[in-house]
């Protein structure tokens, strides 16, 4: 502690000679082999040191910068009044922000540049060395520190009164648990999260409807090459949790040439005459996958470039997604509207703890 107070005292002028350091005990370096301290390069006087005219000019530059800063601050105030944000005109907001910002930037930058230029061109320019202090304290200080610990341990009984000590450690360990409970609060409180993640609004007979209007879709409306962005009918009328339901139930409906569609045996009746419906939620981290190419039948996720092949039951053909997109089994009802046969048969979206 005492050494810290001597910071100014051991500044060594540049031209003072340096003795080769003596070998300290405990190091393998032999003094004679050590590099000789080359000292400072020869002092190179600045233009402002030699030429009083240039020094005057540098001084003028510095105070001009400071005055510019004052002007910038005043301009900021003036600009705020000259370009008021009164109406809902976006253009005025832009002008106000831009001119106020230009003034504020000038005010701060001019101070910064002025101070640096002052230090570099005008202030005294002499190279100095500030020697390092030894890091460790003296043996007395170290012993005193150890003594403090031992005294406080003896007086508090931290190692002796184990019941107190262990209960304190326990209290500290339990302390972060409320934060975990807060995280649990991101999911609905009165329901278990796993069934919520596993089921969507789709159920047997729910009509497929257009996003955002909620108009139900007839199979005949879906021409080959079409891509429809679909929500379950009735989602628009939900009072609460509309976005939560939409985030799980969003579906992309596409019609392919039935010849090009390669379906799994057990899913033959999940499509209708080339019309297929797949969850729009990426199985990687849940971005909406909707970049559909009607000729290659590729679905691209814009977030991490996962690609799904719609013609091949949406299997992953590129990218980090781990699973194929879940397919929504569809059929048509008596009036020709497309309806869901059931909910998705697997949870949509990314993996979670109970689903890998």
């Amino acid at each position: 502690m005492a050494q810290d107070d001597t910071s100014g005292a051991d500044l060594v002028a540049a031209d003072s000679s340096h003795a080769a350091p003596a070998a300290s005990p405990g190091t393998a370096v032999i003094a004679a082999d050590a590099f000789e301290n080359p000292g400072f390069p020869p002092h190179r006087p600045r233009v402002t040191d030699e030429n009083p005219e240039r020094q005057k000019r540098a001084q003028r530059t510095v105070y001009t910068l400071f005055y510019l800063s004052i002007l910038g601050s005043i301009w900021s105030i003036a600009a705020y009044m000259l370009f008021p944000i009164e109406s809902n005109d976006v253009g005025m907001v832009r002008l106000n922000n831009m001119f106020f910002g230009l003034g504020a930037a000038l005010a701060l930058l001019a101070i910064g540049f002025g101070v640096v230029h002052w230090g570099k061109a005008v202030m005294t320019d002499v190279e100095l060395v500030d020697e390092r202090h030894p890091i460790g304290g003296s043996p007395e200080t170290q012993a005193a520190a150890v003594q403090v610990f031992q005294d406080s341990d003896r007086e508090s009984g931290f190692t002796r009164r184990t019941a107190i000590r262990n209960s304190l450690i326990g209290a500290l360990l339990v302390f972060p648990i409320p934060a975990l409970v807060l995280f649990r609060g991101f999911a609905p409180q009165d329901q278990l999260p796993v069934p919520l993640l596993s089921h969507t609004m789709w159920k047997k007979g729910t009509r497929l409807a257009l996003d955002p209007s909620g108009v139900p879709i007839r199979a005949a409306d879906v021409t080959i090459g079409s891509a429809f962005h679909v929500i379950p009918e009735g989602l628009q009328d939900l009072e609460h949790g509309k976005l939560e339901e939409k985030a799980k139930a969003a579906v992309l409906l596409m019609r392919l040439n039935p010849d090009e569609l390669n379906e799994r045996e057990d899913r033959k009746d999940w499509s209708y005459d080339g019309i297929v419906a797949y969850s729009k939620i990426c199985t990687h981290v849940g971005c909406p996958v909707a970049l559909y190419e009607q000729h290659t039948h590729h679905l691209l996720c814009p977030c991490h470039q996962s690609q799904f092949d719609v013609a091949n039951h949406c299997e992953v053909i590129f990218g980090p997604a781990a699973r194929a997109l879940p397919q929504l089994p569809i059929a048509i009802d008596d009036e020709g509207y497309l309806v869901a046969q059931s909910d998705f048969t697997e949870p949509v979206g990314p993996s979670f703890w109970e689903r890998h």
Binding site: S226, A290, L291, L300
Partner: protein
């Protein structure tokens, strides 16, 4: 007296002549107004001459890939039933005739005059029913921009970018920028689904909704970013790269200046 009056009216011997002259003047005037008003009046979809002209152009310019009667070959699809809108879009934006086979037909300077494009379009339309070139009131941007923006975000923005700046697709394909596409071509692209773009038929997005989408795109074209320099509107990667190179570059330059020795 009464009889005399009638003879001076429509029973007058010269009435027929006057009526004929009047009819001729009106017909000629209407024809003149029509032919000067729209240059495309001659490329009438029903005119056999238009279709014949279109057929000649087709056989000279398109038949290599699409076949002599547009039945399609190994190099190009059949055009029966694609409609006038598809031809007007593909040829009118310079995508067809195609420069070369590739992931996607590239846009290039338009090869035909407007009239020739229409002739080609109506020739192909005569081969089979398909979407027609949309009417002016649907493409002039006179709709509801807010509704159009919502529909654009739901149906188009994932590929074309929310500001219409375009974006990449798989294997070299891309969704082009919509910043300088005419309303007619936007409408035709939605109806026909050119290249790998899905079709958005009138049951999916109604003609009025298509008009609203065009209105939104026109609005974006006319009202550029209020935040200043938009860096192509292509999202956080471009903006991050800009600040990494130029923002950090400026900081490094200032640091060098601060620590450099004055002379």
């Amino acid at each position: 007296m009464n009889r005399q009056k009638r003879r001076t009216g429509r029973r007058h011997p010269l009435a027929t002549v006057a009526l004929l002259a009047l009819g001729l003047v009106f017909t000629g005037g209407a024809y003149a107004a029509f032919s000067t008003g729209t240059a495309q009046a001659e490329a009438d979809s029903t005119s056999q001459q238009t279709i014949e002209e279109g057929k000649k152009l087709f056989q000279a310019n398109c038949a290599t890939c699409h076949g002599l009667s547009a039945e399609g070959t190994d190099d190009g699809p059949s055009l029966v039933g694609v409609g006038a809108a598809a031809v007007d879009f593909q040829v009118g934006t310079g995508r067809m005739p195609m420069q070369m086979q590739g992931p996607q037909a590239q846009q290039k300077p338009v090869q035909f005059t407007d009239e020739q494009v229409k002739q080609l379009a109506y020739y192909v339309a005569s081969l089979g029913p398909g979407p027609d070139i949309p009417a002016d009131h649907l493409t002039n941007g006179g709709g509801d921009a807010a509704n159009g923006a919502e529909l654009f975000r739901i149906n188009c923005a994932m590929c074309h970018n929310v500001a219409g700046a375009g974006g990449a697709l798989t294997e070299g394909k891309f969704a082009p920028a919509l910043t300088d596409v005419s309303g007619v071509h936007i409408y035709e692209a939605m109806v026909t689904g050119p290249q790998n773009m899905p079709v958005f038929n009138d049951m999916n997005i109604t003609p009025e909704d298509k008009r609203d989408i065009i209105t939104y795109l026109k609005y974006v074209q006319d009202n550029r970013s209020p935040g200043g320099f938009e860096l192509g509107s292509i999202g956080p990667v471009a903006e991050g790269l800009f600040i990494w190179i130029f923002g950090l570059g400026a900081i490094v330059a200032i640091t060098v200046w601060i620590t450099a020795k004055s002379n």
